[in-house]
Symmetry: C2
């Protein structure tokens, strides 16, 4: 996928859900408001994407990511004063909300002493109050806009719309691509209409590579933004070289490389002139520290240097 003609025809074949126009409008209202105020803004993508195997869909290929990196990063960007446009997989983690680690019904009680009210039970108030307060502080002040997606098609269409809405921010926009996007998909024309019947013992699937949208994103959609992508690998031997390869290929500003098994305590920020580790010790982790804290603080510094 190199020519823009090929890319145009790829986009024309994507299936936009009915809700697309209203979601697009919603995010454009958010970006316009912050553009007027000259705020710094970050677009965060989070969670995985779903690739249907049949056109009347029963089955998917999914690289479901619960979206922990994206949800935590959103919180730390808000604390740094950024407006956050959070583009996330439906049912994946959301900023602040993910800190409720229980079935909420277990900690709610109905009180009928003085009319009916519903309260959080006393033992849970201390830990939950700051979560509720922080959420309202940012959300009610219009600093956080959440837009959800499910399929790969919906993700790609919303990503393009969001990037185009950020173009006016010029270098003040940061694009932080933490979503785990499917590398493969089945083109609509090759998809069976009905549920694949499973009688002949094996299922042979042939998937095409998803075009790398990072190239048009950097070149055309939001060329002056500070764009950060992620590289999640399981094999430490190839992690850095894969990250450097992506940087050379897509000409964006930074790759954050991490290994599946150590991703919560070590990441490496890689740019043209930088290779910098952010590390938490086991003591930090035990004390409840989150690597997104120092990572976002440092990233915001680096972004600020490009603005001066």
């Amino acid at each position: 996928m190199t020519s823009s003609t090929k890319l145009d025809s790829f986009f024309q074949e994507l299936t936009a859900p009915d809700s697309f126009e209203s979601k697009k409008h919603h995010l454009e209202v958010f970006t316009s408001r912050h553009l007027e105020k000259s705020n710094r803004i970050v677009l965060i993508t989070s969670g995985g994407t779903t690739v249907p195997l049949e056109s009347k869909t029963v089955r998917f290929i999914d690289n479901f990511s619960i979206g922990r990196r994206g949800a935590l990063s959103a919180e730390y960007f808000l604390k740094q004063g950024y407006a956050v446009l959070y583009l996330y997989r439906h049912r994946s983690l959301q900023p602040f909300h993910h800190r409720i680690d229980k079935n909420i019904l277990d900690i709610l009680s109905v009180d009928e002493t003085n009319g009916t009210s519903i309260k959080v039970q006393a033992p849970f108030v201390e830990s939950l109050a700051p979560v509720v307060q922080q959420y309202h502080r940012y959300h009610d002040n219009g600093m956080l806009c959440q837009v959800d997606f499910t399929t790969l098609d919906e993700y790609l269409l919303l990503l393009r719309a969001a990037c185009e809405a950020l173009r006016g921010f010029d270098k003040s926009a940061l694009v932080y691509l933490a979503a785990a996007v499917s590398d493969f998909y089945i083109p609509a024309a090759q998809m069976p209409e009905h549920k694949i019947q499973s009688s002949n013992g094996k299922l042979q699937l042939s998937l095409e590579m998803t075009p790398k949208l990072l190239k048009p994103l950097v070149k055309d959609w939001v060329p002056n933004a500070f764009t950060v992508s992620f590289k999640l690998e399981t094999d430490p031997k190839i992690m850095i070289s894969k990250a450097r390869g992506a940087l050379e290929n897509y000409k964006h500003q930074m790759v954050i490389a991490n290994l599946l098994h150590t991703r919560r305590k070590e990441v490496v920020m890689i740019s043209a002139d930088l290779e910098e580790k952010v590390v938490l010790t086991d003591e930090d982790l035990a004390a409840g520290k989150e690597i997104e804290g120092p990572l976002i603080a440092r990233l915001v510094q680096i972004h600020a240097e490009t603005l001066s």
Copy 2:
């Protein structure tokens, strides 16, 4: 997969997560308590299963089902006096909880007038109070036990453990298999260790058929229970014949057949001597009725007839 030797070796190759023994213990405590009280009991499976494509997992094949049928059915079984063992996909819908259709943080407020408390905001109390009360009525009385799973392997191991724990109930146990289980999987021995590298343009996957566990379930695990499976199709021409075929093949008590696009307003109960539709009108749907209400009421009648 016909011989029990083949099945044994299939089970031996499954990967049990660390939490398996504690979940198994948890459900056994629940079933023992209800066996002592001679309660009727239903095992409900709900949600989809995940099939890893790599052993250090980054990608899955998923037939993610949000689990609406299972969650609603659990509520109506509770109302009919059954103890409910709810085996559900992690992050899929849970009984009562799924009726909170908002980000809970949007409707919670911190009140610091008289010490700190957290309350549900007034406009949402009327609709949420019965949800909280019903959940506590059944959960706090020990009538509802929820156990979650993610992968196909975990699902199969928990399903077998749950069925074996139900054996003592004899005909008083109902097994209600509403989960959307992956028909295909990649055997551990054929799985690459690291993330599949996506450079050569196409991804060719070859998946094996998942053994049909319904056969040993009916024959060996819980032979006297009233077992109900589901048949979800997209093609109306084959729905009934596929359901009849399953019934003949597995020798269980009932198949509930439904089409993807009408599943909320029409299902067909099919047993050896029965083919009975349960239908909601558009007016019923508009009034907020749920097809699981009449479906479970009728199913409980049919179950009762087998006990007399």
